[in-house]
């Protein structure tokens, strides 16, 4: 089993790594061979949307899920505190020799179309009345944190937005890893996605975590 990065952040400001984060790590470990073969002789632009503490992006760099000389890493988050935390976590785990930049953005809004080869997304998936508005100032830390959790109707408001953009985000060979909880009704989501996309969607991992059932699906053309 590959080592998990050491993380030390202020969890009043950024999402604390939990079962969902660790499930993604296990998925990426499982997918290492596949990813290496797919991006065997070329650059892979790896992008995590919603990097939070940076545990997932750091795990990818630290364990060379795709080797250093074949990957650049972009970590995107809407929460300014998360971007600093992501940089700190990478540093804390001696990833300075990997290419990492962090960008403050709402999902993929600032990313050029069809440039991402590996997308990792652990969305705000908790069903809620709605999706919170962006806080007005950087100091409203708890409100930034809410954005990492609350996913509106069925917890799918944000994931739906991303799925609609997936064709624009991923490169031709791109692969996306997206996490769901059972209340998102992932089987139905996948079925609906496949009605409009002639893609391959695969269940990589499913795990009971406390009273939640979490799963990660991969999406490829």
């Amino acid at each position: 089993m590959l080592p998990t990065p050491y993380v030390k952040c202020d969890y009043n400001k950024v999402y604390e790594p939990a079962e969902d984060s660790f499930l993604l790590l296990d998925c990426l470990e499982k997918e290492q061979g596949f990813l290496n073969e797919r991006f065997n002789n070329r650059l892979a632009v790896v992008c995590e949307i919603g990097s939070g503490s940076g545990v997932v992006t750091t795990f990818i760099m630290q364990n060379k899920i795709i080797p250093q000389e074949r990957s650049i890493h972009l970590a995107v988050d809407i929460n300014p505190w998360a971007l600093e935390a992501t940089l700190d976590t990478a540093k804390l785990n001696s990833c300075e020799n990997s290419y990492l930049d962090v960008v403050q953005s709402d999902l993929n809004a600032c990313l050029r179309d069809n440039q991402i080869d590996v997308l990792v997304f652990n969305p705000p998936y908790v069903p809620a009345e709605g999706v919170p508005d962006f806080p007005e100032s950087r100091e409203q830390a708890d409100q930034w944190l809410d954005l990492a959790l609350l996913g509106g109707k069925d917890g799918m408001a944000i994931t739906d937005k991303l799925l609609q953009q997936l064709d624009k985000i991923l490169s031709q060979d791109g692969v996306a890893y997206i996490l769901f909880c059972a209340r998102n009704r992932p089987e139905e989501v996948v079925k609906k996605f496949l009605k409009t996309h002639n893609w391959n969607v695969k269940l990589i991992e499913i795990r009971k975590a406390g009273w939640e059932v979490l799963s990660v699906y991969s999406f490829t053309r």
Binding site: L43, V45, R112
Partner: protein, 135 residues
């Protein structure tokens, strides 16, 4: 933000997607602070993979705005593998390494060539989040 990252960012305003001017963002050289960070070591294989991928015209534009006018106007071609590289080729790759991977913009401004909206880089982190009235 490392120089190379400018090759992947566009203006987040939806209306600009239909223009060809939302990428690359235009840098205000006078307001940009650049630093050299040597933590990424030179690896010719990495550079070959990167060159293969980059949009050279966009790179040229941004380099010019940041005061580097020494880039070849066309994307240089290299042999496919590192052992086939000449000394000259290796030197060119090393220069590109210094520019693309070791040069960071720590403070500065970048503007959409289409809508003119300005985005800021502070403490090395670009902020491309839009104010609510522009979403």
């Amino acid at each position: 933000m490392k120089f190379l990252t400018t090759n992947f960012l566009k203006c987040p305003i939806k209306a600009c997607d239909t223009s060809n001017d939302n990428f690359p963002l235009q840098f205000d050289g006078g307001k940009c602070q650049l630093v050299q960070d040597e933590s990424i070591e030179f690896n010719p294989e990495f550079l070959l993979n990167i060159i293969d991928r980059v949009d050279w015209d966009a790179l040229l534009k941004v380099a010019g705005e940041l005061g580097n006018v020494n880039l070849p106007p066309k994307k240089p071609t290299f042999p496919c593998t590192v052992p086939q590289l000449t000394d000259v080729g290796m030197a060119v790759l090393n220069d590109l390494h210094i520019m693309l991977l070791q040069t960071s913009i720590t403070e500065g401004e970048m503007k959409c060539r289409n809508c003119g909206h300005i985005y800021y880089i502070k403490n090395g982190i670009p902020n491309l989040l839009l104010p609510p009235h522009l979403v």
